[in-house]
Symmetry: C2
Subunit: 189 residues, 2 copies
């Protein structure tokens, strides 16, 4: 394996632990046994390095998601998805993504392209998964929109405090997803 790839993977490990926001080259380089000089040499700039790291973090997420065994129903699939995303490994990837997205919320947005691409790929993968759980293909994107946003919001809540009732909210979400898949037209023409 090329040196560049090794460094990229090590840097990804480091970022998954320390985040993207305050990141600076020298501590990162020291932690993975190289120098800021070499990081810039291999990745051209800090922003390019971080962008690649974000991409790799999201690639790891996708890898886990794609190996998630299908559940017997959409509701069960949502619960399985929640459990999978609550695993520390995947949770860290999601946190990195959230930090990258939050950077673009106001003012500067150095990682816009990677974040966009990651978001699109992730949405597609979740749709594929929920379809494998029996979601009507025509409705899966609609379900994904709701499920993905809610899981992300709940995880952000969980990072702030450890609120009661999250499990219940997840079950409510699963039920809502199931209803949409089953063809509920009541309130959403």
């Amino acid at each position: 394996m090329q040196r560049r790839d090794v460094l990229a993977e090590l840097a990804t490990d480091y970022v998954l632990e320390h985040g993207v926001i305050g990141l600076s080259l020298r501590p990162l380089a020291a932690a993975i046994g190289t120098s800021d000089r070499m990081l810039v040499y291999h990745f051209a700039s800090k922003d390019a390095l971080v962008a690649e790291v974000i991409g790799r973090s999201n690639a790891r997420s996708l890898e886990v998601l794609r190996q998630l065994p299908p559940a017997p129903s959409v509701a069960a699939g949502v619960l399985a998805l929640w459990r999978a995303m609550s695993d520390p490994q995947l949770d860290r990837c999601q946190r990195v993504y959230t930090q990258a997205a939050a950077l673009g919320l106001l003012g500067q947005e150095p990682y816009r392209d990677v974040v966009r691409a990651s978001n699109a790929e992730w949405s597609r993968a979740v749709a594929t998964y929920l379809t494998s759980c029996g979601a009507a293909a025509a409705r899966s994107v609609r379900i994904v929109r709701l499920v993905d946003a809610t899981i992300m919001g709940l995880h952000l809540d969980l990072s702030v405090e450890t609120p009661v009732g999250v499990d219940k909210a997840v079950r409510d979400l699963a039920a809502a997803a199931q209803r949409i898949s089953d063809g509920d037209q009541s309130e959403s023409r």
Copy 2:
């Protein structure tokens, strides 16, 4: 009004436009007609200043939310809440909150206390609002958990791209909230 309050309000305006993440004292000071020297003098440190700004930003959110007229149903209340939070003014406050929360996701968390307090206050206010829309008081916190997280997640999505189907997701959310309020026990024992 004390000079300190004036500066705090001006700083809040500035942060609502430029975010908390890359913030540095000198550009902020220059923009609001003072110096970094004076900011540290009045607020003791940068972190203390930013913490206060985050608090004020969330106070503005609460002010708007508390003046939101009750809707005739829970579903309508969720839609009204969504519309209110999509207003640029309130949206910016939410973005600042998200950035502050995202800072604490990995590694450092300088604004933990303010974020926690803001989150708690906000949840309570949303619960109060939805109760005024007819939500059963005993179920309002459960509804809030779902609604608030979803709206936050959807707004984060919207900041990344402008995806189709968000409106539909909001209506799905409103319908789900309505069902919970009406006493749906089906999937969430």
